[in-house]
């Protein structure tokens, strides 16, 4: 840290802030840095890639793109109903591909991106193999069985993978399994379909946060954020339905709410509280708080709007327009205040 005289006019608090690319860009916008100073500043913070950075990026990109194209090609090959290949050759192509990928993983190791990507491709090819199996032997299994078995078969690989993309594959498969289970086995509203999907995603979110906290390889937060959005989406559906049902006189019995969904608003309220508490105190994440705020705007607008529409539609539309503007203003003000408080305590 540079030595600085107490009488220096430079505002100490601001100079102690971390030199992030967005702050440097803001300084340029405010006329404090010119083009050359901004460019050099970004270079010094490591935001503008140098030769080594480009080499690293192109290496990652070529590996990922190559694996992606290869895998997509194999999937297309499987999807093509090729008549000339005998049954064993059809299985053989996929099994050999899986074996090769596992061998590459073993050879490269899971500490390198190449190994992780090879294992991910192997995990995805397991799904293609199961699909071919179902097609060849006409097992008649439902989609949820396919996705469930797929998830089960790759679980071990996911656990050892040290790769968030593979965890995301598992998360997607579990969601699909549950979704298709309700759709194909118990398809009516009498069952806790959205609540169970919410629970799955809430548990997944907890697991991601534990992994992010304990494992150095869990560096990105994209999966945590995506999972939170899905969790909110799942619980908002029965919550908004329950709010609309509060005023069922308006719609008659058209939107009868099955008893199982009556707890949704309570679950939602507890979840919002937990999200706000955790992501403002324990794991600072403004994105998560923004999502919580957005869900609150939806719930409050429905809560206000439903009786208003019953009272007078014209007044309701006018007031709801302003209600949303006021709520968004409050949400942004709160989020900015939180952000500034975090900035001050950096």
């Amino acid at each position: 840290m540079s030595e600085r005289n107490k009488d220096e006019p430079m505002n100490t608090e601001l100079s102690e802030l971390q030199a992030t690319p967005s702050r440097l860009r803001r300084l340029a916008q405010l006329g404090y840095l010119d083009r050359k100073a901004l460019e050099q500043g970004l270079r010094l913070t490591g935001a503008v890639p140098d030769r080594r950075g480009w080499a690293r990026f192109l290496d990652y990109a070529l590996l990922t793109l190559g694996a992606l194209f290869l895998m997509a090609g194999l999937f297309f090959f499987v999807a093509y109903n090729w008549e000339d290949l005998p049954r064993f050759a059809r299985f053989g192509v996929l099994e050999v591909a899986i074996l090769v990928m596992v061998l590459i993983t073993h050879w490269v190791g899971l500490n390198k991106l190449g190994g992780k990507i090879a294992l991910t491709v192997a995990a995805l090819l397991v799904g293609a193999l199961l699909a071919v199996f179902g097609q060849e032997y006409q097992t008649g299994a439902d989609s949820y069985m396919l996705f469930g078995n797929w998830a089960l078969l790759i679980l071990g690989w996911v656990i050892i993978s040290k790769f968030d993309v593979l965890w995301a594959v598992l998360w997607g498969l579990l969601n699909l399994t549950l979704f298709f289970f309700w759709n194909q086995v118990l398809p009516t509203d009498q069952y806790p379909q959205p609540e169970s999907l919410f629970l799955l995603n809430a548990v997944a979110l907890v697991v991601w946060e534990v992994l992010a906290n304990r494992c150095a390889w869990w560096k990105q937060r994209w999966l945590n954020r995506l999972t939170l959005i899905v969790a909110f989406g799942c619980i908002l559906w029965p919550t908004l339905w329950a709010i609309l049902e509060l005023y069922d006189a308006y719609f008659g019995n058209y939107m009868d709410l099955p008893p199982i969904h009556r707890f949704a608003p309570l679950i939602y309220a507890l979840f919002v509280l937990a999200v706000v508490y955790f992501y403002s105190r324990w794991q600072r994440d403004l994105f998560m708080l923004t999502m919580a705020m957005f869900s609150l705007i939806l719930v409050l607008t429905t809560l206000i709007g439903r009786p208003l529409v019953e009272f007078d539609e014209t007044v309701a539309f006018f007031l709801l327009g302003f209600a949303i503007i006021i709520q968004a203003w409050l949400a942004v003000s709160i989020l900015r205040r939180i952000s500034q408080r975090w900035e001050a305590s950096e």
């Binding site: 505002n11 971390q18 030199a19 010119d34 500043g41 080594r52 190559g66 290869l70 403004l286 327009g321």
Partner: protein, 359 residues
């Protein structure tokens, strides 16, 4: 890259030592750095929240005007729309840093635009005329309404209107030229990012920098839709490949590597290779261009967008009707295998010492 986070004070000291800025002691940091009170300097997701809320509010306000009987003809729609648009512009320009008034102005300008376009569309049945009206209106709003999100929406609306004109005039072939132009403009805007940021054109940078790639993706989606009746998408792919080469040239120049070198030839070869799967799905090349732009300017949002669209266009390749599924699988398998070979070649070219060490 530094391992410990650099503080602003330290960084400014270093810049001052290189005579790029005055000594920090001579010039205090601007207070606006810690975040002004508007939503402009907020992260993208807060801007998105503001935008979505304004959209919903605009729908309610527009519905109110309809139900309350203020709108019962095309003339009343045009008058209400014009009043709302002008009010929004005045409000935003007068109270630029107020979140509340900014939010109200945004909802008003969205409702105003909707009413103006709806009113004009009610009077005119000619799609070309309506599209020209949209272009004129959005250019005005882009210039007069100082808001990043609205300006980005204006860019999208203008490109959409041009696409509609090309369709209506049966000039669908020009879509390939438009695709190439959009990609080129996106590259130029990102290339000039530092210059634009430090200039008086700074407010127009972000709307163009995000609006142009998003419009490009939007137009590439047309290659998957038969009703637009545009054919020969290889022309778009060829145009985008040229833009990709230009981008590669700029990056190589920045790294002091000439295009006519082993590395340059390698870059040309890789672009040519990517042309094969992108032959009828130019979105793949568009996504690669945006991905490179994102990394070039350390912009994770742009990289995230590019990744999502790359996966989408690759999946959409499945539905391409010009090639049989078996041939598509051969193309993808071949391209994937050659890309991995290209990676090995790349290792040889730059030498292992320049390669990263995996975590």
């Amino acid at each position: 890259m530094s391992t410990t986070p650099l503080r602003l004070g330290e960084l400014l000291d270093q810049l001052a030592a290189q005579n790029l800025t005055p000594l920090p002691s001579e010039r205090p940091l601007p207070e606006g750095l810690s975040g002004s009170n508007d939503a402009e300097s907020s992260p993208w997701y807060i801007k998105a929240l503001v935008g979505i809320a304004a959209w919903i509010a605009a729908l309610f306000l527009g519905s109110f005007l309809g139900i309350a009987g203020f709108i019962d003809s095309s003339e009343s729609m045009l008058i209400c729309g014009a009043v709302l648009t002008v009010l929004a512009i005045v409000l935003k320009r007068l109270l630029r840093h107020s979140i509340f008034w900014g939010q109200l102005a945004f909802a008003a300008i969205l409702a105003g635009q909707g009413l103006l376009i709806g009113g004009f569309g009610w009077q005119q049945s000619d799609v070309t005329m309506i599209s020209l009206f949209v272009i004129g209106l959005e250019v005005l709003i882009f210039l007069l309404y100082p808001d990043t999100l609205q300006r980005m929406l204006s860019v999208l609306a203008i490109v959409g209107a041009i696409g509609a004109i090309l369709y209506e005039q049966e000039l669908q072939m020009w879509i390939h030229g438009l695709n190439t132009l959009l990609a080129l403009l996106a590259v130029i805007v990102w290339q000039q990012e530092f210059r634009l940021l430090a200039s008086r054109w700074s407010p127009f940078r972000a709307p163009l920098a995000y609006g142009l790639p998003l419009s490009l993706f939007g137009l590439c989606l047309l290659s998957l839709i038969s009703f637009y009746e545009a054919t020969d998408w290889w022309l778009s792919a060829a145009g985008l490949a040229l833009v990709l080469l230009y981008l590669a040239y700029q990056i190589l120049r920045e790294l002091d590597r000439p295009l006519f070198s082993a590395m340059g030839l390698w870059a040309v070869g890789t672009v040519a290779l990517l042309l094969i799967p992108a032959y009828a799905t130019p979105g793949i090349l568009a996504a690669v261009i945006v991905l490179l732009l994102g990394y070039w300017r350390a912009n994770t949002l742009l990289m995230g967008l590019a990744t999502v669209f790359l996966l989408f266009f690759l999946s959409a390749y499945y539905y391409n009707l010009e090639i049989t599924l078996l041939n598509k699988s051969y193309i993808l398998l071949g391209t994937g295998a050659v890309l991995l070979v290209v990676r090995l070649l790349f290792h040889r070219l730059i030498g292992e010492r320049d390669m990263m060490v995996d975590e």
